[in-house]
């Protein structure tokens, strides 16, 4: 790419050909406000907030869509620009009913930031969307029409990114509205990518922090928090830390300060999942079970299978997902050890995900009449609770999660990145095969780098103790068809609905883009490398728990570790 020279507010900038004015300005620290722009999508240029003046051009131009050209002379903040920008912002504001008091987005709201920065007159126009509907998808995601600013990012997320095509634009002009499709063959899989890409929290998780606050205040219950592998490398972003910074310790301290009685690490549950899944994989391969086996820890993928491809239900591993595993263990193993009535324990999972809210509420998850997980909060909801209580996570001391559900291997840590679940299972499957085989073909391989990375589809053939295992990793449900076309070619497939895996989950901090996803993944892989144990089967706590479950008999063991799925027509 050739480099070109332009001028922004009088200073010369050198940038590559093809760079947009918005990107060029950002590179020299000039901040141009933008709402509909998102790095995951091609520019749509519909909010018209990022307008700038280009000398010699008749009208103002949108900097998100206009590419820098040699010799361009650009002013980003002239009186003309500021006036036009402020008017468009005011018009947008009048579409968005302020529900700031209850909004989990209020500490980071771009609209509020712009309003004070550009001294907007917010009440010049009457709110016009007061009577709009809120569409709720299961108990996980909602689109609140009263807050929508018509930027269409949610539609882009649902179609361009995820290829689910559940959201549509109905009507025209001021009547246009984001609606679920009328096509009854299409279903929302609750991935929450619409929420992750909404600039104004109109598409959002169905918030449950209020219920959690009530439980914390209730003295008759023991409230337990457990947090997912990926949350530790993303939540810091909401407190000014760089993406990928591991803040496990500060998060544990923050959770305790919020009043949770115990704080556990879902990484423990991830090691359990790996053990169960690796054993099942070997069993299926050796005993000619249904292949390929597909991971099931992504609940949006499970929804996808149940709605769109019920024929693949036998392919899903029967293993439960990590937080359901650890939730079940908390309410059985840990409850018994502590002598607490499981009914008095409330397990709250902190997840990067919106679909986990639905997964946790599935009736078939019950163990001895209790749901393993009572409520799920997204990373964003936890950030909000922490900020609301005037806690600065970044400045909290480093504390350790409570024993015994705190121990984990590096294999659990990488669960949050696309390819991580598969890599963990391969590490352990390799060990299990070596244990049972006569030959000495197994090497002590730890890293399976062929399943890492940001490609939409990763394929490899890995040799596990003499056995060639063909694997595929689907990084984002938008890439699923490539695998479904030739599903019989594989032994094992991992599917993560969100691009990047859980580190790019629908409940993660905003913004999330590929630069940030990569850094979060690096954070997890770096953590794995530094762990003293790297493989699930080396986690003594997990082995002990699994032994305990085995002793308790098949019914309980199966109840805690396995699940079943069936075709679904609606939530």
């Amino acid at each position: 790419m050739a480099s070109i020279k332009i001028k922004i507010n009088g200073s010369e900038v050198t940038c590559e050909e093809g760079t947009t004015i918005l990107q060029a300005a950002k590179s020299i620290g000039v901040d141009i406000p933008a709402l509909c722009q998102h790095d995951d999508f091609p520019p749509k240029a519909n909010c018209r907030v990022c307008v700038v003046e280009i000398l010699g051009r008749k009208c103002l131009q949108t900097s998100c869509s206009t590419k820098a050209e040699e010799g361009m002379d650009i002013i980003t903040d002239s009186a003309k620009v500021q006036k036009a920008r402020a008017m468009n912002l005011e018009l947008i504001f009048a579409e968005h009913i302020e529900k700031c008091g209850l909004c989990i987005w209020r500490f980071q709201c771009k609209l509020l930031k712009f309003a004070s920065k550009y001294k907007l007159k917010l009440t010049r126009f009457e709110d016009r969307k007061g009577k709009r509907k809120t569409y709720k998808f299961a108990n996980a995601v909602e689109i609140d029409g009263t807050q929508c600013i018509d930027c269409r990012n949610c539609i882009e997320a649902c179609s361009v990114l995820q290829n689910i095509n559940y959201l549509e634009m109905s009507g025209k002009g001021t009547n246009q509205e984001i609606v679920p499709t009328s096509d009854k063959t299409k279903h929302c899989i609750l991935c929450g990518q619409c929420a992750l890409h909404c600039p104004v929290s109109s598409a959002q998780e169905q918030a449950h922090y209020g219920e959690v606050e009530k439980l914390i205040k209730d003295e008759n219950v023991i409230v337990v928090a457990q947090f997912a592998p990926s949350v530790r490398v993303s939540i810091g972003e909401d407190f000014g830390l760089a993406p990928g910074t591991n803040v496990t310790g500060q998060m544990v301290a923050s959770l305790r300060k919020l009043g949770f009685d115990y704080v556990f690490d879902v990484n423990f549950g991830a090691d359990v999942t790996t053990m169960v899944e690796a054993a099942e994989l070997i069993d299926r391969i050796k005993n000619k079970g249904v292949l390929p086996m597909a991971t099931s820890c992504c609940p949006a993928w499970v929804n996808y299978v149940e709605f769109y491809r019920p024929d693949l239900i036998p392919n899903l591993t029967t293993s439960r997902s990590p937080h359901i595993h650890s939730g079940g263990i908390i309410k059985t193993y840990w409850a018994q050890a502590k002598g607490i009535d499981p009914k008095k324990i409330k397990v709250i999972s902190i997840m990067p995900c919106t679909a986990k809210k639905y997964e946790a509420s599935r009736k078939e998850m019950k163990v001895a009449g209790n749901l393993p997980v009572d409520l799920v909060l997204t990373t964003r909801e936890l950030s909000f609770m922490i900020k609301k209580n005037y806690i600065d996570l970044a400045k909290m001391p480093i504390e350790k999660a409570d024993d015994p559900i705190s121990e984990y291997s590096g294999a659990a840590a990488i669960y949050g990145a696309s390819g991580g679940v598969m890599e963990s299972a391969l590490r352990t499957a390799q060990y299990m095969l070596c244990q049972s085989s006569e030959n000495n073909l197994c090497d002590a391989r730890i890293d399976f780098k062929e399943v890492r990375g940001v490609e939409g589809l990763k394929e490899a053939t890995v040799n596990l103790a003499g056995l060639d295992v063909k694997v595929a990793v689907v990084n984002g449900i938008g890439n699923i068809e490539k695998v479904l076309d030739k599903i019989d070619d594989y032994h094992y497939i991992e599917v993560m609905s969100c691009p990047g895996g859980c580190i790019g989950g629908g409940g993660q901090p905003i913004p999330t883009n590929w630069e940030i996803r990569k850094k979060r993944a690096e954070g997890l892989y770096g953590h794995d490398k530094n762990c003293t144990i790297r493989k699930a089967h080396e986690n003594k706590g997990v082995i002990g728990t699994l032994d305990w479950l085995k002793e308790k008999g098949h019914k309980l063991e199966h109840g805690v570790l396995h699940t079943k799925n069936k075709q679904k027509f609606k939530y």
């Binding site: 520019p43 749509k44 240029a45 519909n46 909010c47 018209r48 907030v49 307008v51 009208c59 103002l60 949108t62 869509s65 003309k80 006036k83 036009a84 008017m87 468009n88 018009l91 947008i92 009048a94 579409e95 010049r124 126009f125 009457e126 016009r128 018509d150 634009m169 009507g171 025209k172 002009g173 001021t174 009547n175 246009q176």
Partner: protein
Amino acid sequence: MSNGRFSGVSAQEEVDIIFFAIFMIDILQKIEAANLRGRGGACFPVVKKWQMVKDAVAEKKFVVCNVSEGEPGVHKDKYILDYHMEEVIDGIKIALWFLNASHAYFYVNQKYYNELHHRLRNIIKDAPITIFEKDHSAGYIAGEETSALNHIEGKKVEPRLRPPFPTTNGLWGFPTLINNLETFYDVALVAKGKYKEKRFFSLGGDCLNRGVYELPENMTVAEVLRVTKNFPDFDFFVQVGGDASGIVWNAAQLEAKATGSASITVYSAIKHQPIDLIRNWAKFFKKESCGQCTPCREGTSRLVEILDAREINWEMCGDILNNLSETSFCGLGTAASIAIKSYVKNVLMEKADNRIIIPNISNEFICDCFNEY
């Protein structure tokens, strides 16, 4: 039936082929020499657009003849279809041949389609031209070229982000030549050596001899009004280039040439109440806005709100109009401000102090935001 010199070709077809070959010689040079401009309203040089599509490298190319004619007050396309349909189709064939394009779409509004499709099919015969009936509910915006492309492709009818332009990324991403019907007519005339630098003027409004007239394109508005015996003997102003997006001139500004789609609508100054006129323009654009961008979707709707209020906030009105012309996504948003701004400036405003005087309304204000026209 084969009476010609080539087998399977009738004498008449043979004559057609020979004539066609003659027409095609140096077609681009002929277009350039005639200085043809697009007749859809934007007046883009035809030679440039044709050259761009020609230069684009692609497996396939398309031609679109735009006959949406959704601009109120403009009727020339219908007139041309009634009297010169053969020439129009010849123009499309010339474009197909010149670009080596695979297919053409005749994008026509429902009303014209219902009336003319039998005749059209008879003239098109087996030429690779599909008649695409524009859905009536697609509205005004469907006449905008990229919205038309979306409509043909079956997508939501709204403009596309430009660049890339249709000349390189048109129908299904292929280079596409989209011109107004009158442009294809002009091209056919140029090819046949019959082009006389004329264009079609639609005359309407408060005048006696309404209709479409073919007159020299250089005629001023005043001349057109005189020649067609429509020059009013009462206090009046005109709107030129469409009753929605056209510019408003007062009686002292008629020495200019008719712009855009060359319609001239006469308004009696007594008959038309200023607020009603302004409100009608605003309502039209509110109704026709596709809703894609903020200034047009929100702006036109707020404009109607402001104009419906008991006390009109002219300053806010001006600010919204400015945002429409400065920050809109497409030409519709920009156009939404032209009529109101130029009417206020050229008709209502007293030149000395920018004071807007609206008869019968006590609301006066001083503002320079209407000074653009």
